[in-house]
Point group: C3
Chain length 182, copies 3
């Protein structure tokens, strides 16, 4: 069902420049992004672009969504980050066209290397492909690719790739069925 | 153990009137409900009733609980919505007598029809029957009935009905044992 | 893999004195702890100590972490409570040296006795031993001991003890592999 994600993880160090940029972003987030009215998706896309995000048209980004580093976020046309989504973009997070991530989900692009007691940071890019749907309160681990039009059911935890046009569920998420359109 | 929930889901469209009513509710929530002291359960029940909720006596509704549409909420005598519960009442959510929903749980009365790329909204009523206990950080999906005096263990994810007087756990939740009183 | 946790749970009653102390703590938390800058770990440790917590040196306690009763919290040198961790310390919660609890995790030292319809409160101490890592969005139930250098993978739910130097995952969490250092 999937290539191991482990090979895709790489060591990372958070630079002082990164921390300063995030401190600035957190102020903009707190005062301009978070309190903005729900329908102001264009405004929030603008703020993210000011911090280096690559955002297409007709995207929806809800005000309670959190983005760790906007410069690591790519959202193609029609994609969506729902309420209270945590977009922990320590590595690149890519939402392709019309990809939807529902409320409370956690896109977690970082982990720790447990083969050392110091647990150094490792990161891996996350992709949610075209027309895929990550339902509510899902966890997506580092290095994971959610395939085209795939569905990750509510509350699933995904540590491996999800094949295109399949539905997965559970913790850890497992294959449930193929997605078939009417 | 359960009748399929799927047959109970129905298409839904969020009307403009619904959105306006929720916008008004969100203001009342922000200024009058959310900041109220923990012990002011009667006050919060009053606010919910003003927006059409059907609330019995001796209910406890904690200030960080969130209710999407109060007019879809029915709470019978002695029932409880704990801290940070998300009562996503896109369809009716019914808590019968002395039903308790503990902190962080998510009563999610909506889903999406994945047999279409547009993923139209579908909804289903949720019931938590008399004396049932939904423990902490549980997910209850649309159309689900939690039977009388049943227990859903902490962190379980429930997509199918839970039989009366049983204990379920896990994701997806499965039968663990019968509940027996001393 | 573990001794049953059930034998470690004990009945508990929340006293009026406890409620008053927590009311005072919640004010201090709201105005002095929660809004403090991320790097002010020493300040937050000081506040917790004022309310009876036993906190070692070089600990990190992030501002969005929540502590129910500081007087039930013991954090040894180098331990860490991450962002949005809920430290529900109705019973004692002990983090030994260099134990790390990552963001969104929920250390839940209380449950309910379901052999009665009144569901009286039961509690059990939680221990996260030296060099153990509780990863993101993990649930740890009452009475659980996470062994030395053990790893609880992201999103796992732990209801039984975790053996030292092992990795567990899933809901309920199960053994995945032994932890081996390079």
């Amino acid at each position: 069902m999937s290539e191991s994600k482990v090979t895709r993880l790489r060591p990372a160090i958070i630079s002082g420049k990164n921390k300063m940029a995030r401190a600035l972003w957190s102020i903009v987030y707190l005062f301009l992004f978070r309190p903005s009215p729900r329908v102001f998706h264009v405004w929030r896309a603008f703020l993210l672009r000011c911090f280096g995000a690559d955002i297409g048209s007709s995207v929806r980004i809800y005000p309670s969504a959190r983005i760790w580093a906007p410069w690591n976020l790519v959202m193609q046309d029609g994609s969506c980050l729902g309420e209270y989504v945590d977009c922990y973009s320590v590595a690149r997070i890519l939402l392709q066209k019309n990809a939807v991530v529902s409320q409370y989900s956690f896109l977690c692009a970082a982990s720790r290397d447990i083969s050392s007691l110091e647990k150094p940071l490792v990161v891996g890019d996350i992709t949610v492909a075209e027309n895929a749907w990550v339902a509510a309160d899902v966890f997506v681990g580092p290095g994971v690719v959610i395939g085209e039009a795939a569905v990750v059911s509510a509350r699933a935890s995904v540590f491996k790739d999800v094949e295109a046009w399949t539905v997965v569920a559970g913790n850890p998420a497992v294959f449930v069925k193929r997605r078939v359109l009417k």
